[in-house]
C-alpha cells in the first residue's frame, strides 16, 4: 500500500492493490480512527462492510481486464458526527441502476449482486460519481449510540 498523501490519524488517501494484507491495513487504519472518536462496534461493523463491498466491486468488476496490480484509491475522513469514505477504481465505471434488485423472488437464489444493497443499507449516503468508477459514502453517527444498553 502506497500512501499517495501523508495519512493523518483520522483521514487518509491510500492506493491499495488487490492484496489482503494491504486491504486489512487500510481497514485497521480506518477502524482505529473510528475507535478514537468513540464510534461503537455496530458503526465499525457497518463501515468495514461498506469498505469491503466497495473494494470487491472495484477489483472484481471495475478492474476486470486491467493488470492485476492496478491499485484502487481509498479516501476516508473520520469526524465527530460522520465518516466520509470514497473508493475509486480505474475501470470504465458502471450504472448502479443496472444492478437487479437481489431481494426479488426471481433473484434471491442468484449468488451475486448484494454488495450495493448492503452499502446502501448501512451508509447514510452512497453516490456513484464521474463515469461510475468512484463511489462516495457517508456514515452518520446515530443520535444515540447503536450499541447502548
Amino acid at each position: 500500500m502506497q500512501p499517495s498523501s501523508k495519512p493523518s490519524p483520522d483521514s487518509a488517501v491510500l492506493l491499495i492493490p488487490n492484496d489482503r494484507e494491504d486491504i486489512e491495513r487500510a481497514e485497521e487504519m480506518l477502524l482505529e480512527g473510528m475507535g478514537r472518536h468513540g464510534y461503537p462496534d455496530a458503526a465499525r461493523f457497518a463501515v468495514r462492510l461498506a469498505l469491503e463491498e466497495s473494494l470487491v466491486n472495484a477489483f472484481r468488476h471495475g478492474h476486470k481486464g486491467l493488470p492485476a496490480d492496478t491499485p484502487v484509491k481509498v479516501e476516508f475522513a473520520v469526524m465527530e458526527d460522520r465518516v466520509d469514505l470514497a473508493v475509486e477504481d480505474q475501470g470504465a465505471g458502471f450504472k448502479p441502476e443496472d444492478v437487479p434488485d437481489p431481494t426479488l423472488d426471481e433473484n434471491i437464489e442468484r449468488p451475486t449482486g448484494r454488495g450495493l444493497l448492503l452499502m446502501r443499507a448501512y451508509m447514510a449516503r452512497v453516490e456513484y460519481v464521474g463515469r461510475g468508477n468512484r463511489v462516495e459514502m457517508t456514515y452518520k453517527r446515530p443520535a444515540k449510540p447503536a450499541d447502548a444498553v
Binding site: 489482503r20 455496530a42 468495514r48 431481494t103 434471491i108 437464489e109 451475486t112 448484494r114 444493497l117 443499507a121
Partner: protein, 119 residues
C-alpha cells in the same frame, strides 16, 4: 495459516455433517472460494446430504460469502439435501435480514435447535 490448509472444522455425527469456520472474518475472496470448494466436496459425496453450518466463530462476512452460501444451498436442493445455519451473530443476522436471505435459509439460534430441525 499455511497455504492449502483447511478453512473448515468438520465433524460427522450420525448422518449429519457439521461444519465450523476456522476464520473469524470471511472476507477474503480466495478463502471464500476455498470454503465453497471444501463444502461442495463434502456434499458431492453424499446422497440426501444433511449439513449444518455453524457460524459461532464468525465476526464478519461479505456478500461474496453470502453468494457461496447460496451456491451451496442450490447444490443441496439439487441433491435433495437439508441445509441448516446456526449460531449467527446478531450483527451478521442483520445482513441476512437486509438481503432477505433469512427467508431463503433455515436459520437456528443454537446447534441443538438446528440438529433437532433435521427430518
Amino acid at each position: 495459516m499455511p497455504a492449502g490448509a483447511s478453512r473448515l472444522r468438520v465433524r460427522q455425527e450420525k448422518d449429519i455433517t457439521q461444519v465450523e469456520f476456522v476464520d473469524r472474518n470471511i472476507l477474503d475472496e480466495a478463502n471464500i472460494q476455498q470454503i465453497g470448494e471444501e463444502i461442495t466436496g463434502l456434499i458431492d459425496t453424499a446422497s440426501n446430504p444433511r449439513l449444518l453450518i455453524n457460524f459461532a466463530n464468525v465476526d464478519h462476512l461479505s456478500s461474496a460469502a453470502l453468494g457461496t452460501l447460496i451456491t451451496i444451498n442450490n447444490k443441496m436442493k439439487a441433491r435433495k439435501g437439508q441445509l441448516r445455519l446456526a449460531n449467527i451473530d446478531p450483527q451478521i443476522y442483520e445482513v441476512f435480514k437486509i438481503t432477505k436471505l433469512d427467508k431463503l435459509f433455515s436459520i437456528h439460534q443454537s446447534t441443538e435447535a438446528a440438529l433437532a430441525s433435521f427430518t
